[in-house]
């Protein structure tokens, strides 16, 4: 059999973002793969050192367009810890509300991308249509569909009144029905199962080897979720299930992500029901006392970790960002070995790549 090398990317309909994959195939089997990152490397970590803490909030929002809010949350959390700032309760609640809405939006977006990549445009259309509801809620709260600019150091800049709470509750109900519908479809649609089951398998050992996090790890039966295991913000006061699945394939990841959406709508309802009164933010000083902090949070794709060091000026001395996609990318080599050429698209989209996150 002759070996053929197929380039996937940097411009490829499969990836919205440029990532170069060189896949060597023998017949219809993949025998080797090579990856080249860096097409969207913008040098955010270095830019951070040249800008003030407040400016950096806007920069962090643009690490990734899909999970923009969770990045600012992690960053602000870290800076607030350095400052020793007590964030008002209402601010924390609203922050968490947006985190959960973003999780719904991100997971539905992912389902659409997966479906599109395996030639199931209908699910793509409907998933993105239902995702619009989550975007609507976020837009009504913050004014932005994808970037929200909600977080400021010391709280959030938005507030909501009773009428808005009522409206959001109604939209959440709607979202719930639609997610249940989607779950029903993917559980019963045979062609969907045929394409996703036993594809992109990751064993729990592999997950541990490559330090994979988030829904990909949970779908391989590794029970880890920072919201429960290292509660930040107000997660210790909320009641939710951590979804795991034993199968470890793309199908399991789909189920895990959709069930997480359901959990997220429940979390949103809890937050709205127990929303405390009071201010949403406190004033933060411009300069941050010298010190170091490690801030972690659970993004839609898994653990985000920020390391921030201050040397007492108004600009950070070092900000390190590690996004959940980077370890997932590493695990791709193993997943791609010996798969069918047609499954490359399913495997690649199955781990929910976000190259903008990984490259920074």
């Amino acid at each position: 059999m002759t070996k053929v090398t197929i380039p996937i990317g940097p411009q490829h309909p499969l990836l919205k973002e440029p990532l170069s994959f060189l896949v060597t195939v023998e017949g219809e089997r993949v025998v080797d793969s090579k990856m080249r990152l860096g097409y969207v490397h913008r040098g955010i970590e270095r830019l951070c050192q040249q800008r003030t803490y407040v400016q950096n909030v806007h920069l962090m929002e643009r690490v990734c367009g899909i999970c923009s809010h969770v990045h600012t949350t992690t960053y602000c959390q870290g800076v607030e810890a350095l400052l020793g700032l007590e964030v008002p309760e209402r601010g924390l609640y609203l922050r968490t509300l947006l985190c959960e809405l973003e999780r719904i939006h991100s997971h539905l977006l992912w389902l659409g991308v997966l479906a599109k990549n395996m030639g199931f445009d209908t699910i793509f259309m409907y998933a993105w249509r239902y995702r619009e509801i989550a975007l609507d809620i976020m837009e009504s709260l913050s004014g932005g569909r994808v970037s929200h600019a909600v977080n400021i150091i010391g709280g959030v800049r938005i507030d909501m009144d009773a009428a808005q709470v009522e409206a959001v509750l109604g939209q959440l109900d709607e979202l719930d029905t639609h997610i249940t519908t989607l779950l029903g479809v993917i559980e019963h649609e045979k062609t969907f199962r045929v394409r996703t089951q036993n594809v992109g398998l990751l064993s729990p050992e592999q997950v541990r080897r490559y330090c994979v996090v988030g829904p990909v790890a949970r779908a391989s039966d590794v029970d880890v979720d920072l919201r429960r295991d290292a509660p930040y913000s107000i997660y210790d006061r909320l009641d939710f299930k951590v979804i795991t699945h034993a199968d470890g394939d793309v199908w399991a990841r789909t189920v895990v992500r959709l069930l997480e959406c359901v959990e997220s709508t429940k979390l949103c309802r809890q937050i709205l029901a127990s929303l405390p009164d009071g201010p949403t933010s406190t004033r933060a000083p411009r300069k941050v006392p010298a010190g170091e902090v490690v801030s972690r949070s659970e993004a839609p794709r898994g653990e985000v970790i920020y390391y921030i060091r201050s040397n007492g000026k108004d600009k950070p001395a070092r900000v390190k960002v590690r996004t959940p996609t980077l370890p997932s990318l590493l695990a791709l080599y193993d997943q791609l070995r010996d798969v069918n050429v047609a499954d490359i698209s399913v495997v690649l989209s199955g781990v929910d790549l976000c190259i903008a996150c990984a490259d920074r």
Binding site: E45, G78, A81, C211, V294, S295, K320
Partner: protein, 158 residues
């Protein structure tokens, strides 16, 4: 994760060192180690305590030296901190213990010019192929000049 137990086994393994555990905000504990002991310390963490999750490796330029942080996590954060000389920094790789460190080490390598001994492939991960500007996160780094935009003449193309 039992920090006292970890510290104790580190003390047992490296009796010549005076090890301390310090705390950072948000549940993070730091143990400082010399660079040549990091590999052995990581081996203890992986083999004795089953801590497999390396969140990331942070590298930073502290003017007089380079500093590396190995951020572990298992319920609580644990960071191993080590420092390297400014010139020709070399440290053994931990990819043989934790394969997940591959990309983290490559990133530190290109951003700070730290060589990880024993790493299978230290090609640039994020920087472009023909990069000639040095390590971007070192303080003496200057952004290389941009050679002028490509002149794609629209009329000529049409």
């Amino acid at each position: 994760m039992n920090n006292d137990a970890i510290l104790q086994s580190f003390r047992d393994a490296f009796p010549d060192l005076d090890l301390e555990i310090t705390s950072l905000p948000v549940d993070e504990h730091v143990i400082a180690l010399p660079a040549d002991r990091v590999h052995a310390a990581v081996a203890i963490l992986v083999e004795q305590f089953g801590i497999y999750h390396l969140s990331t490796i942070t590298g930073q330029d502290r003017d007089e030296n380079l500093e590396l942080f190995y951020h572990f996590w298992q319920g609580h954060g644990l960071t191993l901190r080590t420092s390297l000389p400014y010139d020709a920094p070399v440290i053994p790789t931990v990819t043989d213990l934790i394969p997940g460190a591959t990309f983290y080490e490559r990133e530190v390598c290109e951003m700070l010019d730290v060589t990880f001994e024993g790493h299978a492939n230290l090609e640039p991960l994020f920087l472009p192929d023909n990069w000639e500007g040095g390590a971007p996160l070192r303080k003496d780094f200057v952004v290389p000049p941009v050679e002028g935009g490509l002149d794609v003449d629209k009329e000529a193309a049409a």
